[in-house]
Symmetry: C2
Subunit: 214 residues, 2 copies
DNA sequence: TCTTTTTTGGAATATCAACTCCAAAAAATG
DNA sequence: CATTTTTTGGAGTTGATATTCCAAAAAAGA
């Protein structure tokens, strides 16, 4: 249960059997793939039907409407980010950890051929202005992403590895912005360099706040 | 003539009279407004028709098809950015100039109620993967934006205000990423804070490369 | 086993949006 | 002034797409 504040399940769904749960999960996963490749507007319900091998009534049964499906995809991608970046298992509380995290981000873009950008960022760009409820989910997704970054930096500061005047929350926001902006430039230019530069510059900045020999 | 490399006018347009030029310009301007508010997919040709007070045949006469209109909007926004940020008139070659530039960026978001994000960034997010020719225009737009930033920083370095090992090109990319990522977070959260933090952090980093007392 | 609920199929609808086409007005050109 | 080119109007076509609806199969529950 990750719900906070005003976020609620789209509607009181009837309870699902194991089979229903599996179908629903498969639809979300496949919809997420299509949407990261083509955007929300570029992905029709029929596209999802075909790719997932389900009928229209199944989609509307499990998600109510397209917006409901998109909300499920946002949650799915928010979880996927935390998992892929190991933010649920590893702590981001050393320069080695930051470097490993940076390498994973770059490698992920490279694997995708620099396509798609950041899943949450792309959804935010497409939906934030026009879909208020999607925006809430996205704000929440960014917050859940930012928290472990901020916590790791705070741990470093509290341990005395970063100067006392270093601001973990601010640095976390700036790091997130570097990821998003870097991913966008990388997506546009189809090369990982911009993301690498954005991340290396920000991490370099954090290094410059180190208390160790510099 | 800003065209470089493989960029060409969408088609050999028949020459326009002054009246035609004016109509075309008005359509582009209004389409740009609609598209920044609703995205490309969310803006129909009919929306543009109504808002600009023109007929369908005029749109297709001046732009060929929707893609042609979008290309014109990309160019328009690329120019608008350089003009609004004064990058054609002022040089970004001092900390005061950087600070003024940062303030203008934040004020612009504030004026828009944090809606729309960065015009070029939003277009890039929507089009970069699926429209190869739009992507070329967008790469070009980013490059034209990056150049004066990079030049300003280089001037500072060459003047000895930045350390000799400061990398103007890299810092320009990182700054651009901060703008894009910060604007995206600001757009999602509907407050200017994230953009402010992203920019202040990056500019702070550049300040830390200053040769002046610090 | 009987009943209720959940899951699935697939056709039908209705709206919307990009684009085409035929002409006519207006302007430029010679 | 005659003619060619540009500009504008607006209806019509075509295709796509979100959504609904009526049932039937399958599973769960009692």
């Amino acid at each position: 249960m990750t719900a906070t504040s005003t976020l609620q399940p789209t509607r009181a769904e009837p309870r699902l059997t194991a089979k229903g749960e599996a179908t629903r999960a498969r639809i979300v996963e496949i919809a997420a793939e299509l949407i990261i490749a083509q955007g929300v507007a570029g992905t029709s319900i029929e596209d999802v039907q075909r790719a997932a091998g389900v009928s229209a009534s199944q989609l509307y049964h499990y998600f109510g409407d397209k917006r409901g499906l998109v909300h499920a995809v946002i949650e799915f991608q928010a979880d996927a980010i935390l998992i892929n970046q190991r933010l649920r298992t590893d702590r981001l509380d050393s320069f080695e950890a930051l470097q490993a995290w940076r390498d994973r981000l770059v490698a992920a873009q490279d694997r995708r051929g620099c396509l798609g950008g950041c899943a949450i960022g792309s959804l935010a760009s497409e939906l934030a202005d026009s879909q208020p409820d999607a925006r809430e989910h996205l704000v929440n997704a960014f917050a859940r992403w930012e928290a472990p970054i901020s916590e790791g930096l705070r741990a470093m500061r509290d341990r005395g590895e970063l100067r006392a005047d270093a601001d973990p929350d601010g640095l976390a926001v700036a790091l997130l912005a570097a990821v998003e902006g870097g991913a966008l430039l990388t997506r546009t230019r189809r090369e990982t360099k911009p993301l690498e530069i954005a991340l290396d510059t920000m991490i370099g900045h954090i290094r410059s706040l180190s208390t160790a020999a510099g």
